[in-house]
Amino acid sequence: MADKIEHWLTLNMIPGIGATRGQKLLEHFGSPQSILEANLNELQHVAGIGEYTARQIVSSRDKLDIEKEISRIKKQKVSVVTFSDDNYPANLKSIFDPPIVLYVKGKLLPEDRIAIAMVGTRRPTTYGKMVAEKLSKELAEREISIVSGLARGIDTSAHKGALSCGGRTIAVLGCGIDICYPPENRALFDEIGERGVVVSEFPMGTRPEKMNFPMRNRIISGLSLGVVIVEAGFRSGALITAGCALEQGREVFAVPGNIFNLGTKGSHSLIKQGAKLVEECEDIIEEIRCLRDVLPVSPAIKSLRKVKLSSEEERVYNLLSFEPIHIDLISKQSGLVINRTSSVLMNLEMKGKIRQVVGKMFLRVPEAQ
């Protein structure tokens, strides 16, 4: 078995062999070992593999330092799941160009079949972040795995939302699994590695190059039953994910935003083209047949969320909306002196009714369903 993994890894590392050509070769030869042992002539005659690629296979297959790759994998405590393995994600198997090898940190579970991807801009608004966190939390509470790309912005919020309620989340990387990109997400990366799973198809040490990300996006949508786009600009990478989802026959959902914000042009154009508009997680669940059986949150949890407010707290809370407003304005409108306003806001925040954002601004937290 051990030497078989080496063959898979070698195949994955040969330049010029991506998922598509890899699949074609596998179809023809049956196993990676026979591909690596085949001669130039045999390789050339496989459909879709030209002379150039065949020469590349022959010339590079012996030069690759597979020992080093294996030792790096061991050192980083990464496991490898190959296309022929039983625990290869079922959803991913069904797409046109599934990766031949997945580097995995954490553990892939059969339950991860019930997964929803959530992606969006790297420069979200506060609203966008809140939506992503809320939706992913609610979906994760219903034991749906949240797939995203560990990028800045919406991706980060989606992962955090799922982790915040102890749910499962899958991060798909556009670089080697030993690299954390973006670097500020190190802590999140480690947490997902422990409580969820991080996957990548790229060999160890692959830099986060521009061209890797569209490839990663097909895995994000491939792993999921549907893709939710929260805030995407006109040329956002999230739209590529949506495109992949359509090709792979997955559902596409989009969350509406502020029409004056250019950062929502992409998601709105998806809605115009027929993506389902999402306001709450039920909108997603009712669309996907196998998700309908998933249990809703128990009423016990719901009742915990009801908290009592004092009259001052009530007064301040009623002033707030989902648009952040500054503490000075709250003080003026409520007629409370500034120090009183300060402490009332802190109490409301502690009760989970409102939240604070940068600049001493406050807004309501949407009521959970």
């Binding site: 973006p182 500020e184 000075d328 300060s342 402490s343 502690m350 604070q356």
Partner: protein
């Protein structure tokens, strides 16, 4: 012929006597100065000789030796000019020796014989009173500064000729004196006032709390949000400076030569805002001729550091000791000098390198990693010494709330003073503690007694809001101050709740 005159120089912020010995002997024309002079003193021969000639005195060049005793201490500056010139005239027989030795003489000479202002007059005047001389002869520009010292005859002079005539008994000078209390009273008004600040209620309240407890404060806000404007007004709400404090501060300012010829004393709390390119020596004090740095100039007042993360790292790190101890100690091979540096730190920074993070009007162009790096420039130990971080909103929100006039600094200062009085009473047994900010950990447990509900709130907050452990003590201290402002013995939950609001940087709002 030999002559001996008296002068004085400053080491640290104290003055020591210097004897100026001049010897004229026959030989080839030569002028040498000994006693570890710096370049300015070596050059004084040119000024002195020209001034003597241009004041109309006969002088033919011989072999002149000037010794500044004690000879082993390095001396600097042009303040010995007048003394050297008088010494030469005395050694030459044109001036009475006896009277020369009864006065301490200071002054820089100009080529036409007029006397210019010098540095360090106040410490020298204090030392002169101790030395028990007949009087202090100083440049006219320093007369107010010197006359702060009571019981000392101060004789301001305008030029060399006037001085010589006085010492020869040909002309009488009247000694100069001022009414110190009146002078002090005249200078107590601040140029800035909180009444000019419209809106910004939250920031103003935070500054009031900071002033009440002597808490160091960090203001965070986009460019143009008024961080500097607010900080500039901070001295005006601190408790009124006492005469003793004013004298301490004036002494330090005098050493640097910051006292203008029109003023005798610093009557307001100083506000110092050095640029972020400042070196560590300039900030903290030191140099080959040690001089006080910005932290000492801010003694009894406010040190404002704008663009806080842009300061060089080593500069920020040296700030830690004076914040903690209230003094700066500079050690040289021969001496150790101590400069007082009891200041309140107000720092300001942008939320991110471009300045617009969190601003709804302008888009921030920084990556989270850049923001993290920017913020990490302020080290944990330094941040530990800053009790309050507050956010100052962009202009838009200020405009929305402007329709009432702000409270005047005087009104706020009255409340601050009341809170300080409570603290003074509380800490009367301690020598170096006089406000809540300086409380040590063991006293925090003793003096910050929380009501049950408050305790629960603080515990919840630390868990739920991801506050760091280091925030715990700071929140207690600040809440103590907030309770003092209400003259409450126990700290209740709304005091704690407000105090938590002043810990913006501990919150994970930034990523």
């Amino acid at each position: 012929m030999l002559s001996i005159g008296l002068s004085s120089a400053v080491l640290g912020i104290e003055a020591y006597p210097v004897e100026v010995e001049v010897d004229i002997s026959s030989g080839l024309p030569h002028f040498s100065t000994v006693g570890l002079p710096d370049t300015a003193i070596k050059e004084s021969k040119n000024r002195v000789l020209a001034a003597i000639k241009n004041s109309g005195y006969e002088f033919s060049m011989k072999r002149i030796t000037v010794n500044l005793a004690p000879a082993a201490v390095k001396k600097e500056g042009a303040a010995f000019d007048l003394s050297i010139a008088l010494g030469i005239l005395a050694a030459n027989g044109q001036l009475s020796q006896d009277r020369l030795q009864k006065y301490i003489v200071l002054g820089e000479l100009s080529l036409d014989g007029s006397v210019r202002k010098v540095k360090g007059t106040l410490p020298i005047a204090l030392a002169a009173r101790e030395a028990g001389v007949d009087g202090l002869i100083i440049p006219e520009g320093n007369r107010k500064e010197a006359s702060v010292v009571k019981g000392l005859n101060v004789f301001p002079v305008r030029n060399l000729k006037e001085t010589v005539d006085f010492l020869n008994g040909r002309d009488e000078l009247s000694s100069f004196s001022i009414d110190l209390e009146e002078e002090f009273e005249d200078r107590r008004n601040y140029e800035t006032d909180f009444a000019d600040v419209k809106g910004q209620e939250y920031a103003k309240r935070a500054l009031e709390v900071a002033a009440s407890g002597g808490h160091n404060i960090l203001l965070i806000g986009p460019p143009g949000s008024g961080k500097t404007m607010l900080a500039k007004r901070l001295p005006s709400i601190l408790p009124t400076i006492t005469l003793d404090e004013a004298l301490e501060t004036t002494k330090i300012h005098s050493v640097i030569g910051l006292i203008s010829s029109r003023s005798a004393i610093v009557g307001t709390r100083p506000f110092r805002s050095p640029h972020h390119t400042i070196s560590d020596v300039a900030l903290i004090g030191g140099g080959s001729f040690p001089r006080p740095g910005e932290v000492s100039l801010a003694h009894n007042g406010v040190l404002f550091l704008d663009e806080f993360p842009e300061f060089h790292r080593n500069v920020l790190e040296v700030l830690r000791q004076p914040i903690e101890d209230g003094v700066v100690t500079i050690v040289r091979v021969s001496t150790a000098l101590t400069y007082p540096a009891k200041f309140m730190l107000a720092a300001a920074m942008n939320p991110c390198p471009c300045g617009f993070y969190g601003d709804s009007q302008r888009e921030c162009t920084c990556t989270p990693f850049q923001i993290q790096k920017y913020r990490a420039k302020i080290s944990g130990p330094l941040l530990d010494r800053i009790d309050m971080h507050i956010e100052v909103p962009p202009v838009k929100y200020q405009e929305l709330t402007v329709d009432t006039d702000g409270e005047s600094s005087l009104t706020i200062r009255t409340r601050v003073q009341r809170a300080r009085d409570i603290q003074k009473e509380r800490f009367k047994k301690f020598k170096s503690v006089y406000c809540n900010a300086h409380m040590e950990a063991k006293y925090i447990r003793k003096y910050c007694i929380l009501e049950k509900e408050a305790e629960k709130l603080l515990k919840d907050a630390i868990e739920r809001l991801g506050l760091s452990a280091r925030a715990y003590d700071r929140i207690l201290k600040v809440s103590r101050t907030i309770a003092d402002l209400e003259a409450k013995e126990e700290i209740s939950s709304h005091h704690i709740a407000e105090a938590i609001q002043y810990r913006s940087l501990d919150r994970n709002l930034w990523m």
